[in-house]
Symmetry: D2
Subunit: 324 residues, 4 copies
Amino acid sequence: MSTIHRLEPKIFHTTFGRNEPAFHIASGDTIVAETRDARGQDKHGAPLPDSMKPRADGFEYSPNNPLVGPIYVEGAEPGDALAVHIEKIELNRPSAWSSHSPNFGSLTGEQYSRRLLLNDPLPRLLFHWSLDLERRIGVLELTESRITRFELPLHPFIGSIGVAPRYGRVETALTPGEYGGNMDCVETRAGTTIYFPVWARGAYLSFGDIHAAQGDGEVCGSALETTAEVTLRVEVKKQWAIDWPRLEDADFLMTTGSLHSLLDAVRVAQIEMLNWLMNDYGFAKWESWQVISQASTMRIGNIVDPNYTVVVKFPKALLAVPPH
Amino acid sequence: MSTIHRLEPKIFHTTFGRNEPAFHIASGDTIVAETRDARGQDKHGAPLPDSMKPRADGFEYSPNNPLVGPIYVEGAEPGDALAVHIEKIELNRPSAWSSHSPNFGSLTGEQYSRRLLLNDPLPRLLFHWSLDLERRIGVLELTESRITRFELPLHPFIGSIGVAPRYGRVETALTPGEYGGNMDCVETRAGTTIYFPVWARGAYLSFGDIHAAQGDGEVCGSALETTAEVTLRVEVKKQWAIDWPRLEDADFLMTTGSLHSLLDAVRVAQIEMLNWLMNDYGFAKWESWQVISQASTMRIGNIVDPNYTVVVKFPKALLAVPPH
Amino acid sequence: MSTIHRLEPKIFHTTFGRNEPAFHIASGDTIVAETRDARGQDKHGAPLPDSMKPRADGFEYSPNNPLVGPIYVEGAEPGDALAVHIEKIELNRPSAWSSHSPNFGSLTGEQYSRRLLLNDPLPRLLFHWSLDLERRIGVLELTESRITRFELPLHPFIGSIGVAPRYGRVETALTPGEYGGNMDCVETRAGTTIYFPVWARGAYLSFGDIHAAQGDGEVCGSALETTAEVTLRVEVKKQWAIDWPRLEDADFLMTTGSLHSLLDAVRVAQIEMLNWLMNDYGFAKWESWQVISQASTMRIGNIVDPNYTVVVKFPKALLAVPPH
Amino acid sequence: MSTIHRLEPKIFHTTFGRNEPAFHIASGDTIVAETRDARGQDKHGAPLPDSMKPRADGFEYSPNNPLVGPIYVEGAEPGDALAVHIEKIELNRPSAWSSHSPNFGSLTGEQYSRRLLLNDPLPRLLFHWSLDLERRIGVLELTESRITRFELPLHPFIGSIGVAPRYGRVETALTPGEYGGNMDCVETRAGTTIYFPVWARGAYLSFGDIHAAQGDGEVCGSALETTAEVTLRVEVKKQWAIDWPRLEDADFLMTTGSLHSLLDAVRVAQIEMLNWLMNDYGFAKWESWQVISQASTMRIGNIVDPNYTVVVKFPKALLAVPPH
């Protein structure tokens, strides 16, 4: 019997890790929750009240990307995978924002702890998008261009979703990794299942940071940042030890790597796909490599965070046999 | 009046550069030629005879990727762009090969002049694909896997196409750059127009190295290597000084960057798109950056050559105004 | 009045961060402590007893690089720098070990979460060095080479020394950063002063992981790993907000950057030196850049950890004026 | 019988490659020549006359770094090494210049074909250094700083020296590689012997681009650019097939790697040293790796050119046996 949990968070954490679980669910349960945007604003644009911020416990973290969670999943143990089926992402705010910042993103000098260039930094600019939720269109009024209006079809997805990392805690705001996190990857949309490695008993799932649309790489450092009501079904896959998050939808097997450099992210995601086809679809090593080389595609999630995310996609139609 | 030239090369060069032109055409002309595969074999599998190899002139180049050309285009001058419309790529051989090599490609130690790792090198392996040209399917018999046969839909494209580089000569076999070259990019297919910067009077167009199919990144170091009859229409765009090759098809504007590292290739292709939208489509700088950040996608051409190729794609449907 | 504290740790932590302080000292005090080696062994080769390992508190960390500390320094606050004068590093064990591992280090495929290559991994090998503490020579008996013995002059330094990072906790075992940490940099030797940015009230200094000798880059993934009695004098420099650790000895100003990639580490260390000469030594921006470009040298700390460390060195003899 | 050749070039080439040899010498001969600076100016500051520039032959190259050569060395054949003993570098001009440019160098957006950032480019600035050749001091008058004068000890070295590359021609101005070239490496000074792989019969040695002083990395994009009279003794080492230039002086064996990225340059130089110790000094593979890891240092030649140069140095005092 699957239970549906409507979650009403009292605290929105800004770290992935073994924070006090906010909710407990069983394998197979469904959860429904309204998310905050990357700055903590809700569907009415109201900021996160101090009472809903995590108490200081000797650690200081960035206040960005407050997430729903952590959700303790009964029965999830290291060595298992956590399957998260994204059933719905219903945008619930008629606006989104995007921005760029003085030293953020791979096309400029990067933030405080990274590439500090000799050039002058960029101006900080904020852009307001109107979202027509019925037509599924975002509209940006242009003020400096020869044209005055830009319309963009929406394709909502979850920017940040992950479990407790192998060690310690990681800020939700930026760094994706082997626990998922801020992958900013357009494939984490309705219809996709994400498989996370379980590093901690209970898994500690958290999510939020909805993007109404985004280009590959999120090159300016932000997407159409907004809110949604998200419906997820969560299942424990016992004894499926994977090293990195994997994704699957109707058409593709997908593997991810989140590392700095971009090439290392490619390498990890490619090798993950090699392993998947070898272990579950009957291919020998070098033949697996050939079919991946000739038939897979790649998407670039983000190239602005401390780690970059790459997704390798393999068409399921080419797989003759079901996984054993 | 456009002329159709059926080219019968006497020499297949293995460098891009100001080699003695093999053909002269006018702007607007169409050319039709049969290509050799990456090893020089023709549509019957016959190797390139010594008489069709370039004479030694004090330089020694790799024998790989012998190309049709160079084609001198009357009226093409530095400061212009050369538009090459890919009208047809008709596969004309029922077989293709792919391979991997001991120290080649970004997932292993790289070749003699690059990453020489402490690990033992890979085995050299060659794979034979049957091409069903009617069904447009490639078939690989598997000998080491639990499954025995892999079928792959074909999507033929030109692996190597370029003009004379800014300086000197570059081998066709490997290094793509600001002149195009071995970009191994799936977008150079029938229906696409490539715009090359003209670096030398006459442009010196060359092409060949047909791939019947390939995954993003060509990660094992080769695609389904084969031959085709290629039909191209060539036009000089006067006074359109671009820095890197650009592509266009019915749906997308596309820009390229070919550099080592992968991130630098991304940067160049992104900035090229920024410039294109600013100069021809009425966007101011920061608003151009926003719409690219939110609406463009990327493809990775190759990550095995000394330079990697990245393509940024922007949907033409989102461009309200025609270019001026 | 400076106090000398002889520290007898009851717990050896394996994270930098706001762990329960083991010791409290005042600015100006001197501390003396015996360190454990990277595996936790003491000067007699005895392993770290379970009773001296940190209690599990919901986080799981690598057991490597157990350090002395954290030491709470009274009066140290964010915006200050912590000056740590390395007065003595007295090796106290007549042996050291070094090793290489299947997937560790930049000359091979990197560890579990990084570069997973197609090549077979390396063998795991352990090497035993005898240390002649009087002659300050390490001796390795060679078993597979044509020669049978290799002697190496010792130059002991501290492999891991740092303060609490800006956010959260970081394992001592590997990742250096803006808090110092496992920089594996040969300059952290007797006679050097390290200036750390203070990120947390009290600073939370920890140290250990003595290397009896090491080449630049620590390319095999380990140095001559051993133990020592270390004497440090610690001072708070009020109101000196620096972004990254800096070093100074009789001859050089030194700045550090610890990042992945190596080039980013170079950039950060270079810009740090630019800022130092501008802010404290009277140079204008572009003239500072010129003198750094023409007069500084660089050392590479490690290229095996998730972050690489680079040190930029500027000769103090070339600085005409004292800092204000 | 060694012959001393005083070279009086009629043409200064700006490419490494199989250009018409300007001089022929025998193995063991000594050559003496006055060099031009990176812009072509001689010891009086006079620019290179058009009559001394290479004739256009269908290739266009950058005019920078005009070199003495190529020198055809009788008996040098592929599979040999060319030993070039740098006997003297006598500075012969009382001035040098240095500069930085809008988009050049790794601390800013890189040049036209590389990293084109969103930030505004740097100003172009030229700096004039007086050289006191007797005291061996360079002096820069500062105009914008609080201090007014900067004195720098000189350590002259050859910025660009190389042989014909494996394939084609490469501009002398920028890109170092397996043929040497613009390595901008402080170790190519008087007292050092450089061993080049011979790729072309006759080797085709060229050199010039004297730097009176330079910091590691040449981070602003130029050194103290000047002229000198250079004395070299040239010897063919028969049947010594090396892959990359190596250096040797009284104290060190040195290997080089010149690649983009910096880490790849490190890798190549490290593996080259591994091979040298294995092949000529009696070490087995893993023991060679250990002694290199524990005893070698690195210098960074340049990080501004398309390829970066890294030098690995191993102390000869630690080598018990002479090479066989």
